[in-house]
């Protein structure tokens, strides 16, 4: 079964197919070491309707490749296998547990005259190892966020439980993978931070601290505005994956009422004598419903000595969202939720309108219209801060970019070059389509700029990028 989304190419009757997911499986070679027991190794296999022997064959092949490449470098076995039709990615997240993703290369189908079957041309070099390698790692991180490690399931209920959990999680998760729109941003897995003045930021700090004080069950809080992070009480790596979940899955699912704005039929709640627009994005949709269930998704985050399980309460008022995390050992009651709603709702509503106001003021001062519109991606490895003027707002289904995939691929290539060395570097590429692509790396930061200046020469491009750095990145140490 292929998941194909055809795209019409210009003029010709050609059909273009984007990269798509062929297989996704998880195995542990130690679970079926003897001949005839190979099936026991397989913990999860997508698509599930593949014939058993083929599953065993594919797993066996991967095992063999990994084993074989280990002889060359014991610590770094193969990460991917390139073939004409597809590319396979191997990832060992926990000892002996392997995740393999097989992606079909993008292809062009050219119709033939005389009723002959069309010719298929595979574009073997179009997809990047770094991008899809990152996708596999993210699959695991996401599983771990909601289920804990594989090892944890094994301890709790053996292979059976693990298989059950994998089935339950990946069945749905794989449907949300959109391999055709994966790009450099997936490699970074960054966090977009909301720009904010000091005073408003301190107000948010104060809000978070007060809520955590009065509802002492709350262990950690994260605060977002406009799908951008402002504060995280979680450690960076946990926040990174939680941020991914919130911005690509949870928020898009709930975006419609917000888009309708304040005049929407969504009526504000009244707590005491204060109007507020707060509501739960996880847990009960309506607190007044006598049947309401007070169950929240559980997540796993790292602690100094392992992991802890937490309830994830996501509460939103207008564009401000607060995530409250509470130890899973506590049972959350209606009482608690009402208390939280009454306390947080009015304050969060007020903060949201404060931030909104501040944001509009800042915008008016800086006047974005006057600035030359650069297309760029910025990423800082230190705080995972990412900024892109190339990507449109992410939605649940697609991540839109405003530039051609070819250019995105060049960005990915430059990134691979950067990854190879520690030194600061700068790469300038003239693309086929009159575009200039510039990549800069300074210490832990990377910047990629796309310039559309037909007749510009190298010096002019260099000047242009300098100008961008001077306006956009003047407050950080970013070497020219």
């Amino acid at each position: 079964m292929l998941m194909i989304s055809p795209r019409m190419a210009s003029g010709m009757q050609e059909k273009q197919y984007t990269p798509s997911l062929l297989n996704f499986f998880i195995y542990n070679p130690t679970f079926g070491p003897r001949e005839g027991e190979e099936e026991k190794k397989i913990l999860f296999y997508h698509p599930s309707d593949v014939e058993k022997n083929e599953k065993i064959r594919n797993v066996g092949l991967c095992e063999a490749i990994v084993q074989f490449t280990r002889t060359f470098c014991p610590t770094k076995p193969a990460k991917s296998l390139h073939t004409q039709k597809n590319r396979q990615f191997f990832f060992e997240p926990e000892d002996n547990f392997w995740i393999v993703m097989v992606v079909r290369n993008p292809m062009i189908e050219k119709p033939n005259k005389d009723g002959k079957p069309p010719t298929v041309e595979y574009q073997e070099e179009e997809i990047l190892d770094t991008v899809y390698g990152a996708v596999v790692r993210e699959c695991y991180s996401m599983y771990k966020l909601f289920n804990g490690t594989f090892g944890r399931a094994m301890e709790a209920g053996g292979v059976e439980l693990l298989i059950q959990k994998l089935e339950k999680f990946f069945y749905r998760y794989l449907q949300t993978l959109h391999l055709q729109s994966c790009d450099l941003l997936d490699v970074f897995g960054g966090i977009s931070f909301f720009p904010l003045d000091k005073m408003t930021y301190l107000k948010i700090q104060s809000f978070v601290n007060r809520v955590e004080e009065s509802l002492s069950l709350i262990k950690y809080t994260a605060f977002l505005y406009n799908d951008q992070l402002i504060w995280s009480g979680l450690e960076q790596d946990d926040m990174r994956i939680l941020y991914k979940y919130l911005t690509t899955s949870l928020f898009p699912r709930h975006s419609e009422p917000e888009l309708a704005g304040r005049d929407s039929p969504l009526r504000p709640e009244v707590a005491g004598n204060l109007l507020h627009y707060g509501r739960f994005l996880t847990g009960p949709t309506n607190l007044k419903d006598p049947e309401a269930k007070f169950r929240f998704p559980k997540i796993f985050v790292s602690t100094e000595d392992g992991y802890e399980e937490l309830h994830l309460i996501v509460y939103k008022a207008m564009s401000a969202a607060a995530c409250f995390m509470i130890s899973a050992s506590v049972e959350l009651t209606r009482d608690f939720c009402e208390q939280l709603d009454g306390l947080v709702g009015p304050q969060l509503t007020l903060l949201a309108s404060d931030i909104c106001e501040q944001f509009t003021v800042n915008r008016r001062i800086s006047g974005p219209e006057k600035e030359p519109q650069f297309k760029f991606i910025y990423f800082n490895h230190m705080n995972l801060a990412e900024k892109s003027t190339i990507h449109m707002r992410k939605t649940a289904s697609v991540c839109l970019t405003s530039v051609h995939p070819d250019l995105m691929k060049i960005l990915g290539d430059i990134n691979c070059d950067f990854a190879r060395v520690d030194e600061d570097e700068e790469i300038i590429v003239k693309a086929m389509t009159d575009y200039w692509v510039v990549g800069k790396k300074s210490d832990q930061r990377e910047l990629y700029v796309i310039l559309n200046q037909k007749n510009a020469n190298l010096i002019e491009v260099n000047e242009e990028v300098k100008r961008l750095c001077a306006t956009q990145f003047n407050n950080i140490f970013f070497l020219d």
């Binding site: 107000k203 705080n383 210490d443 407050n475 020219d480």
Partner: protein, 634 residues
């Protein structure tokens, strides 16, 4: 409950010979002097003032009973009144007041006369007089205002102000009586009126007793504001919530109302707004308490040395109360100053916001306020309360800073023409700055055991938030405290986020502190460099940091980008380049400086002062003489 007595008598009262059949005692409110007159002065007059300097003893001839005796200001001239009638007119002399060292005002039942005294000529000169029927009068020495009770009912009050030989009639005003008597008779007693300055403004205080017929269930004190110019206005009403005999004092700008039957006192702060009542209605700040029990000290004249101190009877009927803060027991021979003790307020006033408002207006408030801060940040502290306390403090702090700034600006722009020279703003105890908070509250608080680090950080951030809200520049040591606390608890990511949003403002010391954290938290390096870059005055430091990390090219590119290439020490860079052991790097750096030399001095060679000889030798060893840049022959 002794810790709840918020009023006390001063420890060192003025002692004098108590009143008796042979000893008359007088008190002069203007000089705060007690006169003990024995046998009409023949056997001695002993004058005791607030300090030893103002104490005098003398004798005078006994020419009859003394009615009143007062020194002029500075003990220059003594005036004695012996009869009720004056010689010239057939009017009763109600009394006299010294308004200056040589100016005296006589008040008679028919008017007021203002004289200048010429002591050497032993004569008086009438400066001004005014005929008016007077029932009684009151004098406020602080403002040299005399208040006359006029009309039959006595409730129309006519104030006069005196200054430098002039007598100024102020606008008269009428006190609203609870009941208007018919037929008309004197209804406003001298005992129920007092004058005092509160927060720098002159007020007439009227003790309005309850009246069954007027449907007022309890007594109240009505305050009339008496401005230098303009009409007098009724501005405040203090609710006493009881009835009986009262006496008034003013201590530290608080109105103290003593209630004799319950032997308790109340205090009112007219600046403390009551949110739930009309604007100028005031309830007592604290519940009624008696003055702190007082024991007559051993050294007292009435006590035999071997006896223990005797408890003094408070609220005795023999007490006389004078403005602003004086209580005299003539029968025991003591004059006390009434004092307010602030610590009990901390126990009695639960609302911390109100407590801070109250404390910030008191004279000796600093240590008490700091103790409130320490308490609020203690185990039972709550963040909203902490925030309120900080905001109240910083409001006052900001006002002071602004006044100071305006003053400095005015001083710098030279003496202003016309207007009087600006006064340097007074720094009261209520100004609690960051160093006070750091020393007395925050530094010990962060060390305290049993307080969660979450709370500690929240409190520090709350203080920083409050300072920012009032646009007060936060001192570096507060940031240091935040960083120290975060680092102690391994909360590096939190620290990172604070820096990312510039909550901890940039400074060189902070950047250096961050650099020192690099070994435990590597991203601190980047944070520090960013900060140095933003400071834009720390280019040398940036170069040092980069060179220490062996990022020689980076350092070179940086110094070039900020235009400092021509001035840097070539030796420093060459040292660093050589240390890396990277020969190509050394070559590049060496050639780059040769080019600089060429550009600056027309020759690629290094000056002796640059101390690069060993590097030149090293370069030749590595790459040979021919690799050196040749001087261009242009």
């Amino acid at each position: 409950m002794s810790e709840e007595h918020y009023l006390e008598l001063c420890e060192n009262p003025v002692q004098f010979e108590h009143a008796s059949s042979v000893n008359n005692v007088f008190f002069d409110e203007a000089n705060k002097q007690v006169f003990a007159v024995r046998s009409g002065g023949a056997t001695g007059v002993v004058v005791k003032g607030p300090d030893d300097k103002s104490s005098v003893a003398f004798r005078m001839d006994d020419k009859g009973e003394v009615k009143c005796i007062k020194f002029s200001i500075g003990n220059k001239i003594l005036a004695v009144q012996r009869t009720l009638k004056s010689v010239t007119k057939n009017a009763s002399v109600l009394g006299f007041c010294w308004t200056n060292w040589n100016e005296i005002v006589f008040i008679t039942d028919q008017g007021i006369e203002f004289y200048q005294v010429f002591p050497d000529k032993r004569s008086l000169k009438l400066l001004k007089s005014q005929s008016i029927n007077v029932n009684w009068y009151q004098y406020c020495p602080e403002t040299t205002v005399i208040l006359l009770s006029t009309t039959v009912q006595g409730n129309v009050l006519q104030p006069f102000a005196f200054r430098n030989g002039t007598m100024c009639k102020m606008s008269k005003f009428e006190i609203e009586l609870p009941v208007v008597p018919k037929p008309a008779k004197l209804s406003l007693s001298e005992r129920d009126i007092a004058m005092a300055t509160i927060y720098g403004q002159l007020f007439v205080m009227y003790l309005k007793h309850h009246s069954r017929t007027a449907n007022s269930p309890s007594a109240e004190v009505v305050l009339y504001h008496l401005p230098r110019e303009g009409a007098c206005k009724k501005t405040h009403v203090l609710k006493l919530n009881t009835t009986g005999k009262f006496a008034l004092n003013i201590v530290d700008n608080l109105v103290v109302v003593h209630h004799q039957s319950t032997q308790t006192s109340l205090i009112f702060d007219i600046k403390l707004k009551e949110p739930d009542s009309a604007v100028n209605m005031h309830q007592p700040v604290l519940p009624a308490r008696s003055i702190h029990p007082y024991r007559i000290p051993l050294a007292g004249p009435a006590v035999v040395p071997s006896q223990p101190p005797v408890p003094c009877q408070l609220y005795s009927s023999s007490w006389s109360v004078f403005q602003p803060d004086i209580i005299i027991s003539a029968s025991e021979g003591y004059l006390w100053y009434l004092q307010v003790k602030l610590p009990p307020a901390v126990i009695l006033l639960q609302d911390k916001g109100k407590l801070m408002d109250f404390l910030l207006r008191r004279r000796d408030c600093k240590m008490v306020i700091l103790s409130v801060c320490s308490q609020s940040t203690g185990e039972k502290g709550s963040l909203p309360v902490v925030a309120t306390v900080f905001d109240k403090l910083n409001q006052v702090y900001k006002e002071y800073l602004e006044a100071e700034q305006t003053y400095t600006a005015a001083m710098e722009s030279g003496p202003s023409r016309g207007s009087a020279a600006q006064k340097r703003p007074v720094r009261t105890q209520a100004v609690i700055d960051q160093s006070d908070m750091y020393t007395h509250v925050l530094s010990s608080f962060t060390e305290r055991k049993g307080v969660s680090h979450k709370f500690i950080i929240a409190v520090l951030m709350e203080y920083i938030r409050s300072l920012n809200q009032f646009q007060i520049t936060v001192q570096h040591y507060l940031y240091e405290l935040v960083i120290k606390t975060l680092v102690q608890h391994n909360l590096f990511y939190m620290l990172h986020q604070f820096l990312q949003y510039h909550v901890l403002s940039d400074s060189k010391p902070l950047a250096c502190l961050l650099l020192s954290l690099e070994s435990t938290y590597p991203p601190a390096h980047q944070l520090s460099l960013d900060m140095l870059k933003r400071l834009s005055t720390a280019n040398d430091e940036i170069v040092e940091v980069l060179l220490s990390k062996q990022q020689v090219l980076g350092a070179l590119r940086f110094i070039r980008s900020v235009g400092g290439h021509d001035n840097v020490s070539s030796r420093k860079f060459l040292d660093a380049a050589r240390q890396t052991g990277d020969q190509m790097l050394f070559y590049t750096v060496f050639r780059s400086f040769q080019q600089r030399n060429q550009r600056l001095r027309g020759s690629p060679s290094f000056n002796p002062g640059e101390h690069c000889e060993e590097h030149v030798v090293h370069f030749k060893q590595l790459f040979g003489d021919q690799a050196l840049m040749k001087p261009s022959t242009v």
